[in-house]
Structures are given as structure tokens and as C-alpha cells.
């Protein structure tokens, strides 16, 4: 049984990380040289050519397939974790049960590959 106290190191680490970022940013801001900037200076340098349009064009939907698949397998892995912890205890039955679970998902995955949903061109 893990008590909330066991997670204290994580909070510590979080605080240290945040503190480090804040500190370094603050110090560089204080001791670094200051430059005067204008709006023109802040624009992206495009070899002297005026910038046209927006960099954020709509991307191909293929990226979303990958992202969705990632989330789905993420969920699957979470289900495997409690099984893996007690792997020995469950024995053969647990193995079969897990294989049915994974087999179903594997069938889905084979479908996705066969359907060429992951092909890039």
C-alpha cells in the first residue's frame, strides 16, 4: 500500500524543476544585455522577401490516424500493467485471457495495416 507521502519526492522534483526554470530565466533576464527591438526586427527572416500567409497550413489527416492509434494502444498498455504485475499468480488462465484481449486488438491492428491506413504516400 503506498501512501501519498511516498509521492513526496515527485513533488520535490517538480518544485526543483520549476524553481530551476524560473531561476535561470530570471537571472538571464537580469544579467543579460538588453537590446532595443522593433516590430520589423522581430519578423521572420525570409531572405529579404516579405512574408506571405500563415505558416500553419492544414496538415494531412494521416497524422491524426497515427495519433489516434497511439492513444488506443496507450489504453491497451495500461490494461496490461496490472496483469503483468501479477503475472505469475494468474498462471496459464491469465495468459489466455490476456491473449484474447491482445489478439482482438492485434486483429484490429492487422486490419489497419492491411487497409494501408498507415502508409505515407
Amino acid at each position: 500500500m503506498s501512501a501519498p507521502v511516498d509521492y513526496l519526492p515527485i513533488i520535490m522534483q517538480l518544485l526543483v524543476a520549476l524553481g530551476f526554470v524560473a531561476l535561470t530565466m530570471g537571472i538571464t533576464h537580469l544579467i543579460g544585455p538588453k537590446r532595443k527591438t522593433t516590430d520589423v526586427k522581430l519578423t521572420a527572416f525570409e531572405s529579404g522577401i516579405e512574408v506571405i500567409g500563415n505558416a500553419r497550413q492544414p496538415f494531412s489527416i494521416k497524422y491524426f490516424v497515427v495519433a489516434i492509434l497511439f492513444v488506443l494502444f496507450d489504453v491497451e498498455v495500461i490494461f496490461m500493467y496490472p496483469w503483468a504485475v501479477n503475472f505469475r499468480e494468474f498462471g496459464l488462465n491469465g495468459l489466455i485471457e490476456m491473449f484474447i484481449f491482445m489478439g482482438t486488438l492485434l486483429l484490429g491492428f492487422i486490419y489497419v495495416i492491411k487497409k494501408k491506413a498507415l502508409e505515407w504516400d
Binding site: 482482438t104 486483429l107 486490419y111 492491411k114 487497409k115
Partner: protein, 459 residues
Amino acid sequence: MSTLIVISILAIVVLYLGLFKAKQALLPISVLGLVAALALAIMEWNSNAAPIFSGMMHFDNFAVAFSSICIITTILVFLLSKNYFEKISDNVAEYYTLILFALSGIIVMVSYHNLSMLFVGLEIMSVSLYILAGIKRKDFASNEAALKYFLMGAFSTGFLLFGIALIYGASKSFDLAVIAQYVIDRPTGIDPIFYVGLVLMIVGLCFKVGAAPFHFWTPDVYEGAPTLITAFMSTVVKIAGFAAFLRLFSICFAPLQDFWMPTLLVITILTLFVGNITALYQTNFKRMLAFSSISHAGYMLFAIVALGAASTNAIFIYAAAYAVSSITAFAVLMLVKAKTGSENFEDFNGLAKSNPFLAFALTVAMLSFAGIPLTAGFIGKFFVFNAALAQYHTWLVAIAVVNAIIGVFYYFKVIVAMYFKDNQTKQIATPAYFNFVLGVSLIITLVLGIYPSFITNLF
């Protein structure tokens, strides 16, 4: 249980058949598989006394009856799908697969004995429907329907889950039997969070079955989704929703009737009036069917309000009558739409001259919707009202009768259009599958209407 396994495996088989280009085999195999699943379900009639899988699922007679009616309706929908999906896309197998997966979720929903099963079943059903509503990827209305359905569905699932969590918090169990025992053990002093959980579950389930005031999504989704999917949603899915609703309330919450009855009563009356009065003003036939499905949800809620021994039977008969009539209506709508390109009432003008059989089938379906004697719809309404009268909800029945009369007006609009308005339309070619489905629905409607004793004493 075997029904569930057969349907799940069937879905995967169909998916892979599509992958290996066996397109001609998809429909026969789906239908054959469903017939096998149906046979397996009926074989379990009266054979399961206790829940299985550590109380997860109980395939009792209730589950057998509602699974059978859902499977039969799905078979009818499949028969209508011949050449329908091919027009939308090349990937036909996915549509069959998704419908079959939705059906497996529905089997879980009608046979659950544990709230976790209810949730998983509901999710399987809903998620596949979100996808199915949006299968016309280039059609704006279809996309809108899918997105709207998804947002509303996710929202309502949130309510349902919150309710389940609170009920668990009070009773420390997802198991229906344990929750029922918790209620029985405490004639007074049930924890307040139990009541709150109950209210949230009512809200979630009312969202799912499309009862007012949680019906906002229904018309847009039903209109935007492809007609065949709408047919599936407004029949099978609605029946499954009511089966789940009824199962939960009759097993767990029956002793608390004093608490939830007023809430459901208000919802029922609102649903009846909103559905019927809005349906009166529709010019689009599909949208009219969407609103009429809201009002039918109201009639079915009736039997839950008057929860008693007769409720299951009443909802079963009503659902059967409603399902076959809806299938007929949507089948005719699909044919008319394929012919004229739109779904308004004028498109039905003169149908009686050009296609007497179509017109007759649709007329019987509309009469059944309206609850005219000698059709199944009348028997359904009769049993539902009877269940309510048994509990002395006389004035509630009066309201329902008023609504039934309002319903007659808009159902007759289409009949009038078919028989008394002229239009030079050519004959619509009816494929054999359609004739078969229409014939079966017609026979079921009339047989149930004339000899209701077939299914009136099932439970």
C-alpha cells in the same frame, strides 16, 4: 452468452472478408450469422436461472426477448442495405462490421447484471454509432450529425457514469442484485448520494433514448445520418436503450418508485407533447419520423413510469410494433429518396397510383404508428396504457390519448399525400429485398394486430 460471442466474432469475420475482397459474401454471411445468433438466443429461453461470469451478465428471458427483437430488426436493416453502402464508399465491410459491433454492445445492454457491463455495452454501441452517423464523409449534414451525436453522447455518458459512481459510493457494488438488496434492506435511511446517483442515471439514460428535455440532438442527428443508419438508430438502438432502462429500474429501483416516479412522469409528459406537437409542423418526412420517434419514446417511458409486472410485456410489444413500422417507413423513404432526391411529404404524392404495394405498406405502418386498431401499434399502445391504468394513472392515460390523436394528424398527412394528391411520377422499381422486408413487416404488423396473443403472454 453464446449470442454475444457469435455476433462479436461475426463482426471480425465480416471485417476480414472485406479486406480480402469477398464483397459478395458480406451480406449473406452477416445475415446467416445473425440468424445463427438469433437461434442461439432463443435456445436459451427459460434456461438461465442465475447470472454468469461472477454476476456480470444474466441472459434471462427478458434478455432473450429483447436480444431477439434487436437481432431480427438488424437482419431487416441489413436486407435493406443491399446496394446502399456501395453508393457511399468502396469500403462496405466496415459498415456491416460497425453495425454488428453496435449490436454486440446492444446484447450486453439488454443482458447486463452489473453496472460496469451496462457502461461498456453502452459505449460499444454509442461509439460505433458516432462513426456510423458520419460515414458519408463528404456530406456536411452527415458530419454535423456525427459530431453532434458524439458531443451529446459523450456528455450524457458523463452523467450516467457520475450516477453509477455515486450509486457505487452508497451501496459499494456495481452488481444489480446487491444494489437491489441495499435498497430493500433500508426502507428508510438510504444515503442521499444514492438518490443523486439515481437522478443522474435517469438523466444519462433519457439522453440516450432521446426523451425530452434531453432530445435536442435527435432531430438533427436522425436527419443528417444516412437513412439506413437512422433506421437502425431509431429502432434497434432505441429499443436497447429502453431495455437497459427498464432492466435497471425493475431490478434495482422498483422499491424507490415514490422517489423517481414524479421525475419520470414530468419527462414522459414533456416528451409526448414535444415530440407530437413538433412533428405536426414538419415538412420533411425523415425529420417527422425523428420527432415521432421522440413521441414513441414517451409512450414507452409510460410503461416505466407505471413500473409493474406488466411493464416488460408492454414495452416488448410496443417495441416490436414500433420497430417493424419504422423499418417499413424508412424502407419506403429510402426508395422515394432514391427516386426523387429529397425527403419531403410532396415526394410521396401519387405513390398509391404508381406503387400500390409501397403505398399500402407505408399506410399500414403509419396506422400502426398512430395506434389504429387491427395493427400492432394499437396492441402496443393498449398494453402500455393498460399498465398505466393498472396503477390508477387515469389522467396520464388521458394525456396520452390526446397525444395519440395529435399523432393521427401528421401520420395521415403522408397517407393523404399518397392517395389523394396527384403527381406524374413513374413507377419506382422495388428490389426483391425491399419487397421481402416490407412484406415481412406488413405481416408482423397485421398478425400482431389481429392475433396479439402470440407475444402478449411471454413474461
